[in-house]
């Protein structure tokens, strides 16, 4: 079975972001400012587990600038077999519509993919759209908010998953190939091993293929800013949070708790 995962490099979750003249910059004194989108680690983990169970290989795909390799490095370090960076100046300024076109083209180019797995969303853009747009573009079974992959029947060509829906859980079965977006509940991602890290840094230096628009035989009007429908009109930092601290004083802990509950109800926190 050939499983693909799509992953994105994002700012670290502990990075300090700053906005100046509409430009966002970030740094992280505690470590690397760029990381693999944390949601994508669940997709990577699930793909590796499926490979361990059913055999085959896992290919990681990422779209981004040439230097944006953190997501792919993490993917290989965790245990993916191969990685592809899809990168082209012309892809700059892509919204999810343009991104999904490029990713779908890359998955088509891989040729024999049975299953593509995404994290539910990226921590920077937070749209959560790309996975289902890719499914639509490929015409594959779209399975979003997956919390368990119950069965993959490669021979019968079906996949059964459990989805989280507002009212509870839903078990669905659909034909392969399929595109999944997964939630945190699905697994606990492994830490990259030292051996994996060594392999990943070597792979990034020597073997990483970089596919440009021409390699994908993509229509240049559908990529980058040209292929996008969303424009960033304004980017600004949120005003700092303000708040005040009230100490609840009462005769007994029970009375204090009751007063706290009243206040929380009043503020519509509860």
């Amino acid at each position: 079975m050939h499983i693909a995962i799509c992953a994105k490099q994002t700012p670290s979750t502990t990075a300090v972001l700053a906005v100046e003249d509409g430009k966002v910059t970030w740094s992280d004194p505690g470590g690397s400012p760029d990381i693999a989108n944390p949601w994508d680690e669940y997709a990577i983990e699930e793909a590796i587990r499926l490979k361990e169970k059913h055999g085959g290989k896992v290919t990681a795909i990422s779209m981004g600038p040439e230097e944006a390799r953190e997501a792919l490095k993490t993917a290989i370090a965790m245990g993916c077999d191969e990685a592809v960076l899809v990168s082209d100046e012309a892809m700059k300024g892509s919204d999810t519509l343009a991104t999904s076109y490029v990713l779908a083209k890359a998955i088509e180019k891989l040729g024999d993919v049975d299953l593509v797995i995404f994290g539910r969303q990226a921590v920077d853009g937070d749209t959560g759209q790309t996975s289902m747009q890719v499914a639509r573009r490929l015409g594959w079974t779209p399975l979003s908010f997956v919390v368990a992959v119950d069965e993959v029947d490669a021979e019968g060509g079906t996949v059964t998953v459990t989805r989280a829906i507002e009212a509870g859980r839903q078990k669905v079965k659909g034909p392969l190939p399929a595109a999944l977006s997964v939630l945190k509940e699905i697994n606990e991602p492994r830490y990259p091993s030292f051996k994996g890290i060594r392999q990943a840094t070597k792979y990034m230096r020597r073997s990483l293929p970089i596919w440009a628009t021409a390699d994908l035989e993509a229509d240049s009007s559908k990529i980058g800013a040209a292929g996008s429908r969303v424009r960033w009109l304004q980017v600004y930092a949120l005003p700092p949070k303000e708040g005040e601290c009230t100490m609840i004083e009462a005769d007994s802990p029970e009375a204090a708790a009751a007063e706290l509950v009243d206040k929380l109800l009043e503020e519509k926190v509860l």
């Binding site: 470590g31 690397s32 830490y191 990259p192 051996k195 890290i197």
Partner: protein, 381 residues
Amino acid sequence: MGFQLSEEQQMFRSAVRALAEKELKPRAREIDESAEFPVDLIPKMAEMGLLSMAIPEECDGADVGAISIAIAIEEIGRVCGSTGLSVAAHTSLGCFPLARWGTPEQKGRWLPLLGSGASMGALCLTEPGAGSDLRGVKARGVRDRGDWVISGTKAWITNASLAKVLVVYLQTDPEAGKRGYSMLLVETDRPGVTIHPKEKKMGVRGSPTHQVSFDDVRVPAENLLGEEGRGLQQTLETLDGGRIGIGALAVGIAQGALEEAVTYARERTAFGRPVADFQAIQWMLADAETEIEAARLLVRRAAWLKEHGQRFTREAAMAKLYASEMAERVTRNAIQILGSYGYSSEYPVERMYRDARLMTIGEGTSEVQRLVIARQVLKRY
């Protein structure tokens, strides 16, 4: 000359930090209070390669090199000194001598067990009556019909209760002077081996420390590790590497304490402003940052020399001496910055202070480090 970690080393660091933050930091207080090593984390640490850092790749190890070992131990020490100490001792004192002097059979038998954490590594060196004085050990190994018979008592042995095999330093020929010592491998299930109850300690309480006695323990000749009569030299070489590990651990503990102090100083107000606004606090923070950086550079330079196959005895001693004494100052001042809260076990800095205190004692006291450095200085000029 470069001060930049390689891409691989940076990624090791992030990976270890992620594990430390998620798995160890939330439990560090409990590990200290219960004085229980978090054995349930051993498989996770092993899977990452944290327990096979000094094991060659052909024995299924991660073999990451001295610099990455220092980075990993620093990162673990930053959140949990106890786990840091056990991993440091496992790596430098348990795995290293086996990887360095083991026969193919010894390596094949033991290194996979050490790498998987099925056995934690432990070196039996110190005795109730001898520590700094390596030639004063009383434990003996005597040849008897092709076997070795071991008798004596070892003290302050890190990880002994988690080990399946011990590296034991013994006098094997009282007539041979400094060539009268050897290292033997002793399986802990041999008749006559007693691992005594855990020592009660001031700090690094979650790292188990034991007295171990050997009562006419018989091991076969093939348990000799390295060369007969070379035990003293082998031990000195092992300790040189161990000192880099303790230096790295001290840097990590100090770094953790500084971060706690900064967080607190920003939040705590006095006289209407955060205490971080006051110069008295800022100077302590500035000194801590500077001294931690200096210690880290000493540790990494010693590690770099080791990794490049150069002599590093003097550098390892300097790194261990400076880093451990620095960690005492930094953790002490961290308590000072947190005031009464710093003295309370509600905050981690008092634990860090207790943990740091061992660093100037274990694997060669500050006094022994000064002796080692002074010898090198007097030889040099």
